[in-house]
């Protein structure tokens, strides 16, 4: 029996993993909200020179530590500088440090961990022992030495942070890879004669995105705060420039007397973290072929 023409439905075009994922992502209300919020925040910081009401370095010593008011919507810091302006400019530093350093550490960590986990045996032992060794080395001294040999620069800051954060990522990825590589579909891929690289990148990695994304979104704010510690060592932004990490550190010292100095930068960091996490969750749900649907 022949089918009527209108019964023949068009063969649906194949959906790639990514296309499907994007579709799912777009349906996640919180992810949209988080992305938009983050986008606006980043935009504000990028446009800081245009929209900031004051210069970030002009001081007014007699108006130090003023609470939020009409002329300063978020108050002033002890040297009389406008806090709102400093948060905007600080955001530029924090975002660039946070995103770049995290990207570096994720890249290194994922590659290292997946190779260690895939090959196992002696290669795994050596690679993971190297991770242990890097863990044990005192970070403070490491940074101080770095500063001796390299110019004090933002690049060095990214390197220093990235060099530390990739370690835990590598361990997490390794464990995930080791758990997955014995699944049947991997055996199938091997049976098909796919190259190692292709197996790792096209089949294993998409399945471990879950913990990787989660850990990355948590790493970004941690990196922002780590940057404050590095400024303490003399690496990182030099005054009068600032960053959220530094503003929070300074604000913490006076949280009883001038709470706004802590609350506003803290809010900026927290809201960024929450947005990142909504986005991260949605990404994970979107890309993971096995995650539960709502």
């Amino acid at each position: 029996m022949s089918e009527k023409p209108q019964d023949i439905k068009a063969i649906p075009s194949g959906n790639s993993l990514w296309k499907e994922g994007m579709g799912r992502f777009m349906h996640n209300k919180l992810a949209i909200f988080g992305s938009v919020f983050l986008f606006i925040l980043v935009l504000l910081c990028v446009l800081a020179p245009l929209i900031a009401p004051y210069s970030y370095e002009t001081q007014n010593l007699s108006y130090g530590s003023e609470p939020p008011g009409s002329s300063h919507i978020m108050g002033t810091d002890p040297l009389g500088r406008d806090l709102f302006t400093r948060i905007l400019y600080g955001g530029r530093v924090s975002f660039s440090v946070g995103l770049c350093a995290t990207a570096v550490s994720v890249l290194i960590g994922v590659i290292w961990g997946s190779f260690a986990g895939w090959f196992g045996g002696k290669i795994d032992s050596i690679m993971m022992r190297m991770v242990d060794i890097a863990y044990a080395f005192p970070f403070t001294i490491f940074v101080i030495i770095l500063m001796v040999f390299f110019e004090r620069s933002m690049l060095l800051l990214f390197a220093a942070i990235g060099a530390v954060e990739w370690l835990t990522m590598a361990r997490i990825v390794r464990a995930q890879v080791m758990a997955i590589k014995h699944h049947e579909f991997i055996d199938a891929a091997r049976g098909l004669g796919l190259s190692t690289t292709r197996i790792i990148f096209r089949h294993i990695l998409p399945n471990i995105t879950g913990p990787v994304i989660i850990y990355s979104t948590l790493t970004i704010p941690a990196v922002m705060l780590l940057e404050a510690f590095l400024s303490f060592l003399g690496l990182g932004v030099q005054p009068p420039a600032s960053s959220w990490g530094i503003l929070i550190r300074e604000g913490a010292e006076t949280m009883e007397e001038y709470p706004w100095l802590l609350v506003f930068p803290g809010l900026a960091l927290s809201l960024t973290l929450f947005s990142l996490n909504f986005i991260g969750d949605a990404l994970r749900d979107a890309l993971d072929p096995r995650s539960s649907r709502e």
Binding site: F137, P138, R171, Q176, L218, I248, M255, F274
Partner: protein, 306 residues
Amino acid sequence: MGKFILKRIFLETLPSLLVIITVTFFLIRLAPGGPFSSEKQMSAEVLEQLNSHYGIDKPLYTQYFSYLLNICKGDFGPSFKYPGRTVTELISESFPVSLELGLYALIFAILTGILAGVIAALKPGSFMDYFTMSLSMAGICIPAFVLGPLLVLVFSLKFGWVNVSGWNTFSDRILPSITLGMMYVAYIARLTRGGMLETMVQDFIYTARSKGLSETAVIFKHALRGALLPVISFMGPAAAGMISGSFVVETIFSIPGLGRFFVTAAFNRDYTMILGTVIFYAIIIIIFNTLVDIIQTILNPRLRNY
């Protein structure tokens, strides 16, 4: 299992330790400033005397080999900063304190984190999900140097329930443990939640349910095992970090632990103390990572015989 441990110790741990000691020993000399740089300029003669007393006027290689020889005998040297104390003494007196603090923090973090993660994963997208996750993320947005004083402000100064600082009564342990543990609660909660979400849709869960097992049994006996894999790998170094002490928490609460030495030894260029703490920390990390690997193998039999 025994062979595994022995193999770990001799083929991996000892060589790693040797590498760590060597790298640290030579690299720390590259940092500008020495243990004796001080604001009031010391005379050249006095500096010479001090360098000779501590043996740092000898060539670096000689110092390195004598150091290795000494640590085989268990002598980690005197502290440069505290002339009358040995490194062994300083570490052995302060480590038990950090260990206790770290254990409480660990228990707090694990219980709270896993609980939060499981609750959140049971009803993804619900209010409970967002609520527990937000609460646990407080640990990351609110770093220790903010959380600690904040807790002190509320529970010590306002309510007067506990002391502001110190390590004397049992109640002194509460606030520092929470402050230290909070940082990890977020990671544990989120990793648990993510792991649970992935595990709960796998086939063996449906099997377990259809066998008639109660939901609690399904969650805790079957799902959690697989879900905890990323948590465990994270916990290895995290636990090591917690029990070796936290500089920030110990300074805020005036706790005589080991954590502060990690940072102050570096700032003081106390070479022997730096090496001592590095070795100690390395051993702890290696122990914990080995433990983690063992636990992972138990939880997921497919990881054996890699």
